[in-house]
């Protein structure tokens, strides 16, 4: 495992490059196929509304997959992630248009831990609202 960022070069508060990830209905169909999660709340507007959602929503696991890219791109080696957890607090609502929704992710080093690892605290929002609670990853640096 060879992360490109050195443990000694970061401190608590070091900010990671922010990213924004677009998500459209087509994205969700592709993710459903790749992940095997065909729950209709992620592609069928009629069904989503019948169960009380405002519209089709993104898979929580899709949002989780996007959010960690801020960490894996920064570290350089996705295999350097040793721990990753989130709480699904608010859905990412994906309207049926060309724009869809956008998932915005920022991250900063929240703690320096043992064994050359650091904890990265993420903030993940869509339409101005936090969609993941306490998204945190521990990554091993060089």
């Amino acid at each position: 495992m060879t992360a490109k960022i050195a443990y000694d070069d970061v401190e608590v508060g070091t900010e990671l490059p922010a990213r924004s990830f677009p998500v459209t209905r087509a994205t969700l169909v592709r993710y459903a196929g790749a992940s095997g999660d065909f729950n209709p709340i992620h592609w069928n507007e009629k069904f989503a509304k019948e169960v009380g959602l405002p519209d089709v929503i993104a898979h929580g696991m899709f949002t989780m997959a996007e959010a960690v890219r801020v960490v894996t791109d920064w570290a350089g080696d996705p295999g350097a992630v040793v721990d990753y957890g989130v709480r699904f607090t608010k859905p990412v609502v994906v309207p049926n248009d060309d724009e869809g929704a956008v998932i915005e992710v920022t991250g900063k080093v929240g703690a320096k831990l043992d064994d050359n690892t650091v904890r990265v605290d993420l903030v993940v929002t869509s339409a101005g609202q936090k969609v993941l609670g306490m998204p945190r990853a521990v990554v091993r640096l060089a």
Binding site: G36, E66, G76, G79, V81, D83, F88
Partner: protein
């Protein structure tokens, strides 16, 4: 109705091995729009110290969640899956999942709670490779929402 507490600590038999394929990893990486070369180019993965292409961190969920189906569909437990939402998800990795892995999941019910009529289920999936080495642990919290009172 609250779920039976006696299911806490119950462990289900290990699943049949899931063989991780390079093309399945590629499909997943494309689906999440991630073009990191370690997911598709074996040489790039090797340059990082991996024996073959690796999977994105959340890839393994598809395997652990399918294994958690043993709990969800356990008729004795009687969870109403139509009311279930995914509450939390956490992974602890010993090493990344990689192409060629044959992964087996051992699923355990860690906790059952009832809050405001919601049933909350904590499920742990221990993922091992064919050699029996521990690869990753996945913790999944499922919440079965209370049946709404009819107006």
């Amino acid at each position: 109705m609250a779920l039976d507490q006696s299911f806490v600590g119950r462990t289900y038999p290990p699943t049949e091995p899931y063989e991780v394929g390079r093309e399945k990893i590629r499909e997943f990486a494309v689906a999440v729009g991630d073009d990191h070369p370690a997911y598709t180019d074996p040489e790039a993965a090797k340059a990082l110290g991996h024996p073959d292409v690796i999977a994105p961190p959340t890839f393994v969920f598809s395997i652990t969640f399918k294994a958690a189906g043993q709990v969800v569909e356990d008729p004795q437990l009687g969870l109403d899956y139509s009311r279930v939402v995914h509450g939390d998800q956490k992974f602890a990795y010993v090493r990344p999942v990689r192409a060629g892995d044959r992964l087996s999941v051992t699923t355990t019910i860690e906790a059952i709670k009832s809050m405001a009529g919601n049933d909350i289920l904590d499920i742990r999936g221990e993922v091992h490779d064919e050699a029996g080495e521990h690869v990753v642990t996945a913790w999944t919290k499922l919440v079965a929402r209370a049946v709404a009172e009819e107006a």
